[in-house]
Amino acid sequence: MAEATTLVNPLGEGIRIHRTPEPCVMVIFGASGDLTERKLGPALFYLSRERLLPAGFSVIGCARTPATNEDFRGKMGRAVKKYLNLSEGSDAFVESFGNGLFYISGDFGDPAAYGQLKSLLDRLDQERGTSGNRLFYLATPPSFFPVIVKHLGAVGLAEPKFPGKSWTRIIIEKPFGRSLASALELNRSVTEVFREEQIYRIDHYLGKETVQNLLVFRYANGIFEPFWNRRYIDHVQISVTEDLGVENRGSYYEEAGLVRDMIQNHVLQLLSLVAMEPPSTFEATSVRDEKAKVLRAMRPAPLDRIDEFCVRGQYAEGWVGGGKVPAYRAEPKVSPVSNTETFAAFKFYIDNWRWADVPFYLRSGKRLAKRVSEISIQFRRVPHLLFRGAGTDGIEPNVLALHIQPNEGISLKFCAKLPGSTMQIRPVLMEFRYGESFGAPPPTAYETLLLDCMLGDATLFNRSDAVDLSWELMEPILDHWREQRGEGLTFYPAGTWGPAEADALIERDGRSWHGL
């Protein structure tokens, strides 16, 4: 076919909606697994139906289970109907989506399977106009990553087919290792074949809206940045709490624990967004550079006084949402003598000019009173109280709260005088809720992440240095707890706000946890 004389599509310029990615193929390794059926397939179907995927978009499922293209299409069709609760009249969309699905069965270590994959990719470029753009998704256990990556490199699929014109990317899911050593090893095996800018490490807890809202709030408003430092801020609290238990993930949780599941990635990511210096641009590289600097400046918890800086807990039986729930140790696939933490609270300091001596209190846990993710920035008290008297006991420090979940928004607590002739001061709340004032439903996490990867937007994806730095911070604590076994593990009734020791962590400093 003749080479195009125009480098850009003139019809595509200036269309003022979410642009679709360039034509591409997504190859899912581990396509017969649960993730593809429950998450990836439905997300891709939704994007396809809503015109958010390019014409000719194709998916190649790769797995060891023998199956044909039709088998794969049938399975995905049933999956989208089940997990998306489709309405009547959706058959045309399901069939249309299925026409772009293909399947290759083979062992991940079999070179012939990769040769077959390469041939199919070339054929799809020709027949479906996918232009040599490839996205490899590793939906397999991490133990398969090295062999898959090695074989992709061996058949030349790691490099773009048309250098300078097409792209090749690879997505890997968390956990990115269980420890610093395993994270480094995993990273080494992937970066031997793919360049860092080709690697997209998914962390789907934080939505793009949240990250962008935080960055816009800090950097599109001139009034906040001058106060965003140790001169005005007393401390910062970050709470990411859930009322759910481990449900049917007991065996995973026994290996992971709360710190690996939430703190090491999501909570530290929130902390880095709050504490980072302004990036020079909004592009992923600049933002990720600043986030990594924060993690690098964080002071490790002193292990000889660890109880002053870290608290771990495990939920006991209790009541949640009006129903009685069992203790963690009584959950399916959990050891009855497990020492895995389901709650953790920390006090960290960031050793840089902006944040010196400002404590960052972090807490996260399962089976707590409610599901909330919030960043509370408490400002210093006024240096001198002008107002005295009975009505002035309502003077409280200002608190700027960034609500992440369930209702995204921002609130500022400040003092106001009650109407009347006497001096009565009370705290009032000025609130702005994103979902309420701009009532458009946000897309789901997987839909956003897959689109972003196809569009080459790495804002939401982790870079290797951030992964390594967060392991460097948390691993000594995890090792210490492992050595201590059950000593120091506290218990809290499910449905409460965690162990009393977590309250003591912050109250020892004359502060208290912000009410959620």
Binding site: T6, L11, E95, F438
Partner: protein
Amino acid sequence: MAGSITPVPLGEPRPANVAELEAELSALWRSAADDSTGKTAVTRACTLTLLIYVESDEAAYEVNNLVAEVTRQNPCRTIIMRLEPEASPSGFEAWVSAHCHLPLAGEKQVCSEQITIRARGEAVQGLASLVLPLTVSGLPIFLWWRAGSFSPPSYLDQILRVTQHVIVDTARFQPGGMHLKELAEWSRKVAGKVQVTDLNWARLTPWRDLIAQYFDSPERRPFLERLSAVRIEYEQESERLVTQRAQGLLLTGWLASRLGWEFVMSERRDAAQPRTFYFKSASGVVKVDRVLKKVAGGCGVCFAIELSSGGSSPARFSFSRGADGKVVETLAEIPGLPSLGRSVRLEVLEEAEILNEELKLGVRDQRYEEALGVVARMIASPASV
């Protein structure tokens, strides 16, 4: 999210003393506050002032119902201007109300204000003196011209002077007239000072995106350069015929302006059908046919576009929405390759939905200006109807 937010008009609109409208609004806010001790004040969110021009009571009523949907996504102060220059006695009437949205239990209401002003007879000359002080300072002003042709009378000049965005809907313009040409001329005159957007153009955006997607692949771009025929079909005897006719013109204008086609002439080849337009492209002549088609069981939403490219390897790209009004089938037929088709969801967009998107975007759309300029030349040609 739509299920969790319910717009609730705060009681019936109440008559307001025209001279004290701001005071009336303050009274409205006080009555909306939850707690009489003032501990929890109602938070008002406002991102713009939306002026709405209507020419009939029926239109004012329709717009009143739409405003609740609009403020849910774009909290704003709305001022509906109902003008009756021929009516008597001369004078003003005004009403104030608020649209509040109830999110999840325990959360605060988010309220937006609405002011309706009826001006009769000579009083229309003084409309600007009422409206301008009511616009929210520091925020952009949008004027939604929800009427036929865009020919603002002189007494609206002062209002237009401070307006940053004018939103029209060419679906409401009568066919065959020069209204599109007039709009194009006005738009050119105010370019850089006022941004003109068109809800009918916004309805076309997903169609344009679908068409563009087929040519994102570099291997398919040569077909774009060799396009020789465009066929646009609309449903005959449809209540949306006016809408679709204007859309057909705008689509043609878009293709021509984006692909560098030069308009040559038009001709009416069939008395029962709209004109055919001819353009000159780098590879030859491009013929654009617009066809009215009877659709059995149609409900006014059928619409189809077909692009054909000539040369030694003719190809065809088609996009059509069927009678159900929800699904668009696209198909690329390229010699030597399997046909590439898909079904996507594309329902007829509701007016409030499109308006909300335009209010959010609020930026100049050069592609629209370019397309409108081509359309103006097309319909001004002598053989036109």
